[in-house]
């Protein structure tokens, strides 16, 4: 659609303003990151900066946060792979799962099950969360995206922005605008355990493990089942897939459903870890999860998950690692800036993402 980023013989001959600018950005970015890194190594060695323990906590926070980004990013990545557009409303699918999960968790806590049978209770919450998110994702596809098959790329994108606002304010209208707090984590998830000598919060560990397990099951589903093969075929070429007897529409619905389910898992995990949800909860994680999907190479399932983890790490460790030594005050305010800058830098340095794109020929541009 746009001028290609990879094959550009014309601009290679002419070194214009844009190239100089981009090179300035590249060099500047490398310089800032380098200086920051050296600074923070020096600070840590001299004992001035934050301690080793604090670094470890930042890494664990980043990993758990990133696991959730990864789960949401799977939905973006799969939909982009199959339909070639950004489903902006995916963050709200996540919110829907998290909020409905809250009401179930709240009811279970009142019944006493939350503390008595934590595993069962959390499984029930997760199941409702997954069901809700899947339903919302499929409904959105049916109402808003199905009529737009084959429309120019920006039209479904704008539709999905509209859908995102619609869902946000529908959720607000239905459940009220107040912040909802998940019940206190059951004792099994409080405190921390030693893992290879590193103390790690049980809740964070649970989030990381559940996300990894979901990721592996999704990977197996995509690569080992017939439906998964159909999804890959549709992503590669819709027309030929249809000729091979694949029901393209049903496969697209499945894609949305699976993406929604992953967002539902992320919703419950979010509730367990941060405990607070409201109608706007999903917006930023949604945008960042898209960033993660691009970071990992859009259309690439494993890439989306790894991209999520990388993004989580960047935004939790990055401000302290790179900005703090440069004398920037209150760096924790800047984690969103770091996340979005990471997106811009990846697109400038390596537009196909860290782990490579998997897209149909027509979508590669």
């Amino acid at each position: 659609m746009t001028t290609t980023t990879r094959r550009r013989p014309r601009t290679r001959l002419r070194f214009g303003f844009v190239d100089s600018f981009l090179w300035a950005v590249r060099i500047g970015a490398v310089a800032i990151i380098g200086v920051g890194l050296i600074g923070s190594i020096a600070d840590t060695l001299s004992g001035e900066g934050i301690s080793g323990g604090a670094w470890r906590d930042l890494v664990i926070t980043g990993l758990s946060q990133g696991s959730m980004y990864g789960l949401i990013a799977l939905g973006y990545s799969m939909v982009y792979g199959v339909l070639g557009f950004i489903n902006f409303a995916h963050g709200e699918v996540f919110t829907a799962g998290a909020i409905v999960g809250f009401f179930v968790a709240d009811a279970l806590a009142e019944a006493g099950m939350w503390t008595d049978l934590p595993i069962l209770a959390i499984s029930i919450v997760m199941l409702t969360s997954i069901t809700t998110a899947t339903l919302v994702a499929v409904l959105v596809e049916r109402i808003a995206y199905k009529p737009l098959r084959g429309a120019p790329r920006l039209i479904p994108l704008i539709t999905s922005i509209g859908m995102s606002f619609f869902l946000q304010y529908a959720i607000r209208g239905l459940f009220g605008s107040n912040i909802k707090s998940y019940p206190q984590r059951p004792t099994a998830l409080q405190g921390s355990v030693d893992l290879f000598g590193v103390p790690i919060g049980k809740a964070q560990l649970a989030v990381i493990v559940v996300a990894a397990v979901s990721m592996v099951s999704l990977y197996l589903f995509i690569n080992r089942t017939k439906t998964g093969r159909a999804m890959r075929a549709v992503a590669e070429d819709k027309e030929i897939a249809a000729l091979m007897g694949i029901n393209v529409n049903r496969t697209i619905v499945t894609t949305f459903a699976v993406g929604g389910a992953m967002a539902g898992v992320a919703g419950t995990l979010w509730g367990l870890l941060f405990r607070q949800v409201f109608f706007f909860t999903g917006f930023l994680p949604g945008v960042k999860a898209f960033t993660a999907a691009v970071l990992g190479g859009i259309g690439n399932i494993v890439g989306a998950y790894l991209g999520g983890i990388s993004l989580g790490l960047f935004e939790s460790v990055g401000p302290n690692l790179i900005l703090a030594p440069l004398g920037v005050p209150a760096v924790s305010q800047l984690k969103d800036v770091v996340a979005f800058t990471a997106l811009v830098l990846v697109l400038i340095f390596k537009p196909t993402g860290l782990f490579g794109e998997r897209l149909a020929v027509e979508d590669r541009a």
Partner: protein, 594 residues
């Protein structure tokens, strides 16, 4: 005869199934609107004073549309379909009854179970609303009967001659419009002698028209449409076929009349409406700017609010005596050149990295830039320059020679805005058909082809960014002077989205479209924080913006007042098909008939 009978009985089964499904959908929509609290909130405003509130109007609207859709046939060009008959009215009624039954079931459910813990808006007020305040039994019967009647009415519209249908629809629409613009009309007639009498006659106590006024408006509009139906279309068509020079002249005359109207209006309007007009003006200014970026150049910029913020912050830093880092205390007009320079720089800064990205990546990256700008304005890092969360206060008024435009006086601010809107609109209009304008449009339609045709896409894109940024920065500068103090939270992502909605609803790439979008949307629904003419909409403003965005993309992507070229582009297939059919007919090949 038998053939006809069997066909209609088969049709009966098919139509009824469709009626039931449509009815279920309509019931679901009605229940949803009730659950999000919209029906109850809209009940607070009347359309026709004691008898019809906006809440019931919406509910009735749902049934009417359901009946209409249940009976509608798919109209394909060249395929004959059965004419509409009385049976269609029945299927409309079926849809209505089913919808009413769904709502009735919902009433029973919420009477039996208290779900307020979860659904905050499912309140006794909702039950009262749905049962018409007269108990469960009456309510259930009313829902079923009302559903049937209004469903049938919706279906019956298919049977009416087109002329009657159009006249009736415009009568209903105008009753709503006159009801909605009550504040404007009351302000206008205020200065006349008969104002009190007029107000009492036209408007009831709880907003909305009185019954006689509604009848009068309805009948009047019906007759006017009946008489002049098609004239407007004919007039537009005549303008279309006018020679270029004459068309341009007509356009200029219309624009001048509108500007003159805009200049007179604020003088007769009250404070609230004037305040609203300034918000509309701000969004119009931004809309015109974004129209160049999105509408002409086809670059979907979701971080447009950043440029608005740059304009506001530059003005604040340079003019306020309390700006933290340095305060040259320039006058507003002396600061304006700096605003332009900084906005242009911001445009280049945002535009250059995204030049080679594909359209959808670009959208997200610009969104990211918008958020980055807001967070940086908010952060402690730049607190020394931009004041962090406390913002910058005491921004002085605008002074032009002896004149002072106080930010607190919306009327004066409006004239300042009008001045800039006219400039920006003129520039956009001149740019449209200029060399660079045509380059933008070519780029929007196909970038690679445009490049092959010799368009320098790098320059064209950067220019679009820069010009759009400067236009938004004017808005920001006026905003800063109007509010007198600015805070980072005025520059949310929401602002970008509202601007985007109004240019999409109005019509991308069309200046009148943007104006209509700004007046209708911002005027009726209100800006991000301020209420519009319908204060009852405040809670649901963004829900409606979102729905409109989806609806427009699905049903009318070219907008309400589209530019001709954009329409052709979006309906390319239809145009090609028509051209093909025309060609076939000209060549004298009759279409093959089975």
């Amino acid at each position: 005869m038998t053939a006809v009978a069997s066909r209609s009985s088969r049709a009966a089964v098919r139509v009824d199934r469709r009626g039931v499904i449509t009815g279920l959908g309509a019931g679901g929509v009605a229940v949803f609107l009730g659950m999000i609290g919209m029906l109850v909130a809209f009940d607070g405003r009347n359309v026709i004073d004691p008898i019809l509130s906006l809440g019931y109007a919406v509910l009735i609207g749902v049934f009417v549309v359901a009946g209409h859709r249940a009976a509608a046939r798919e109209e394909l060009e060249g395929v004959e379909f059965e004419p509409y008959g009385p049976y269609d009215v029945v299927s409309g009624a079926v849809a209505g009854i089913v919808g009413g039954a769904v709502v009735g079931g919902f009433i029973l459910l919420i009477e039996a179970f208290d779900v307020r813990e979860v659904f905050t808006n499912v309140s006794p007020a909702l039950v009262d609303f749905l049962t018409l305040d007269s108990g469960l039994a009456v309510g259930l019967i009313a829902m079923a009967l009302g559903g049937a009647v209004f469903g049938a009415v919706g279906a019956a519209t298919h049977l009416l001659p087109a002329r009657v249908k159009d006249s009736a629809i415009s009568a209903v629409i105008w009753i709503f419009i006159i009801g909605f613009i009550e504040l404007v009309i009351v302000d206008i007639v205020e200065s006349f002698k008969f104002a009190d009498f007029f107000e009492d006659f036209v408007y009831g106590d709880r907003r909305g028209l009185t019954v006689p006024a509604a009848l009068l408006v309805g009948a009047g509009v019906f007759l006017l449409t009946w008489r002049f139906r098609g004239r407007v279309v004919a007039f537009r068509a005549r303008i279309q076929v006018m020679p270029e020079e004459q068309r341009r002249k007509t356009g200029v005359v219309i624009a001048l009349v509108l500007i003159a109207l805009g200049a007179i209006l604020p003088a007769v309007l009250g404070t609230f409406v004037n305040e609203l007009l300034t918000i509309v003006g701000l969004f119009l200014l931004m809309g015109l700017g974004l129209n160049i970026v999105v509408g002409l150049a086809g670059i979907l910029d979701l971080g447009y609010v950043a440029f608005f913020a740059v304009g506001a912050y530059t003005t604040a830093v340079l003019t306020s005596p309390l700006s933290p880092a340095f305060s040259p205390e320039l006058t507003w007009f002396a600061a304006l050149p700096f605003v332009i320079v900084f906005a242009a720089m911001a445009g280049v800064l945002v535009g250059t990295p995204v030049l080679r990205m594909r359209g959808d990546y670009l959208a997200i990256v610009t969104l990211g830039f918008g958020e980055i700008a807001r967070i940086l304005f908010l952060s402690d890092w730049f607190k020394g320059i931009f004041g962090g969360a406390q913002g910058i206060i005491q921004i002085p008024s605008v002074e032009i020679g002896p004149l002072t435009i106080k930010g607190t006086d919306p009327q004066q601010v409006f004239y300042l805005l009008l001045f800039f809107v006219v400039i920006v609109a003129y520039v956009s209009w001149r740019l449209q058909d200029s060399r660079i304008g045509r380059a933008w449009i070519a780029m929007r339609e196909d970038e690679q082809v445009a490049e092959a045709m010799g368009v320098n896409t790098v320059t064209a894109k950067l220019l679009a960014f820069v010009i759009g940024a400067i236009m938004a920065s004017f808005g920001g500068a006026i905003f800063a002077a109007k509010i007198g103090s600015i805070f980072p939270n005025s520059f949310q992502f929401l602002v970008s989205i509202i601007v985007l909605v109004l240019i999409i609803v109005g019509g991308m790439g069309s200046i009148p479209g943007v104006a209509v979008g700004a007046f209708v949307l911002v005027g009726v629904l209100g800006g991000p924080t301020s209420p519009g003419l319908l204060r009852e909409f405040a809670e649901f403003k963004l829900l409606i913006y979102g729905t409109l965005l989806v609806y427009m993309m699905l049903k009318r992507p070219e907008g309400l007042l589209p530019s001709a070229r954009r329409t052709r582009e979006l309906h390319q297939e239809e145009y090609l098909q028509d051209a093909w059919i025309d060609a076939q007919e000209k060549e004298g090949h009759p279409e093959e008939d089975g």
